[in-house]
Amino acid sequence: MISFRGVSKSWGDNHVLRSLDFEVAPGEKVCIIGPSGSGKTTILRILMTLETPDEGLVVVNGGTLWDVKKGGHAKETKEMKATRRNVGMVFQSFNLFPHMTALENVMEAPVKVLKLDKQEAHQRAVELLGMVGLSDHLNHKPGRLSGGQQQRVAIARAMAMRPTVMLFDEPTSALDPELIGEVLEVIRELATGTDMTMLMVTHEMRFAEEISDRVVMFDKGVVVEKGPPAQIFKSPEHERTRKFLRAVLDY
């Protein structure tokens, strides 16, 4: 379970999160939608500890990730580091390690962080890469893979840490249109076939509607509205949501 309590973040005058209260139940698949620059990605980045909140409490699976009092300083604590291990992230720009093969990318953290022995890590990496349909590319470096293939390696790499919470930050935004489907297919399988908590920022509205238990509309640092996908997409309550959906769905 993920919980945000009074979380704020700003860069100068730009308030990307305004005292955000937000919860995700265990196993829930939540999509966050909203205009660019509205702070959606910041939610994920705070959960991955890539960004520090100015204020607020963030708890994942009972472990405190951030606890920052007003005017205080966010600190990296032991508890934060332990809690972070529950969380995995897939980035918009893949961020694979370019000097390592697909297999090495996936094996790196299990060997060094989870301390699996090499053989076991290797076997799991092969399985995971098979699951994302890349059995033929185990020994290829990212430079030789298409964007879609790279993103699938990135998903396998994140999965190798056995996270209970998986974050997807616009996982298909950097892809050529014809490669989007193969990545969404892998995410769809994770959404239906695992009990991982999934939190995804996306502009793929139809996909969000299809896989999520709940959709959150986010704008200007606050949650505008949230609810089951059918409700948000078919009968949104707020004018801002309607406007946004009209803009992205009917271009």
């Binding site: 500890t49 890539l50 580091k81 000097h99 060094k112 962080v113």
Partner: protein, 229 residues
């Protein structure tokens, strides 16, 4: 033609037999110069890396201190640093041979430059690489050792190679603290025989030959690194 100009200036004419007789001694000096360069570069590579990592780690006070170190070393001439170490260190009970002193001074001097080279290489590594490492909970040592440095070093290796060549030539300064490298031999031969034309010319030729060959190697290395990217 160059010979005759020099002859006019110094009142000396080229003596081939004398020049030939100098070659074994000069090659010995060259060998010392090469050893000094390799040892000095080893120091510069290690110390520079440590300095670059500490500066990047943004440890309060310490990182600034090392920033000052880089400014200080780069802002003073190598010759003065050499004199300083040679004359002052024994006063503090540190008596080292001129050779060792020279190697350390050269290594420290160049560490300030290599630190900046490493820094540029590290800054070239996309921030997404650090973020991916954080997302995988990789320990910081591992992030440096396996993720960031391999990518940073690849892009700066040719630059470091060029510094190696520059250091090879700069090591000539160390004759001022009586290190018997190539230039030191020139000086000795000159004051013993009052003939400078031949030793200086031979030394210049040796520096040139080694530099030219080395820069070809660096160029080759550069091309291979680009190709294997």
């Amino acid at each position: 033609m160059m010979g005759s100009t020099l002859a006019a200036a110094g009142g000396q004419t080229w003596d081939s037999a004398f020049a030939k007789s100098l070659i074994p001694t000069m090659l010995e000096g060259l060998w010392t110069t090469i050893q000094i360069t390799l040892a000095g570069m080893a120091i510069a590579l290690v110390v520079g890396l440590v300095v670059a990592i500490i500066r990047r780690s943004k440890i309060p006070v310490i990182s600034q201190l090392f920033g000052f170190y880089v400014q200080f070393v780069r802002g003073t001439p190598l010759l003065i640093q050499a004199y300083f170490a040679y004359i002052l260190l024994p006063d503090y009970g540190l008596t080292l041979s001129p050779l060792v002193t020279g190697i350390i001074v050269l290594g420290i001097n160049y560490s300030a430059y290599t630190a900046e080279v490493y820094r540029a290489g590290v800054e070239d590594v996309p921030v997404g690489q650090w973020e991916a490492a954080t997302a995988l909970s990789l320990p910081i040592q591992r992030t440096w050792g396996r993720i960031v440095l391999p990518q940073a070093l690849r892009s700066v290796t040719p630059v470091l190679g060029n510094y190696l060549i520059q250091m090879f030539k700069d090591s000539a300064v160390l004759f001022a603290i009586s290190v018997y490298e190539l230039m030191g031999h020139v000086d000795t031969i000159g004051s013993d025989t009052y003939r400078y034309l031949e030793p200086v010319t031979i030394a210049a030729a040796l520096y040139l030959i080694v530099s030219l060959i080395s820069s070809q190697f660096v160029r080759l290395l550069e091309r291979r690194l680009v190709l294997s990217r």
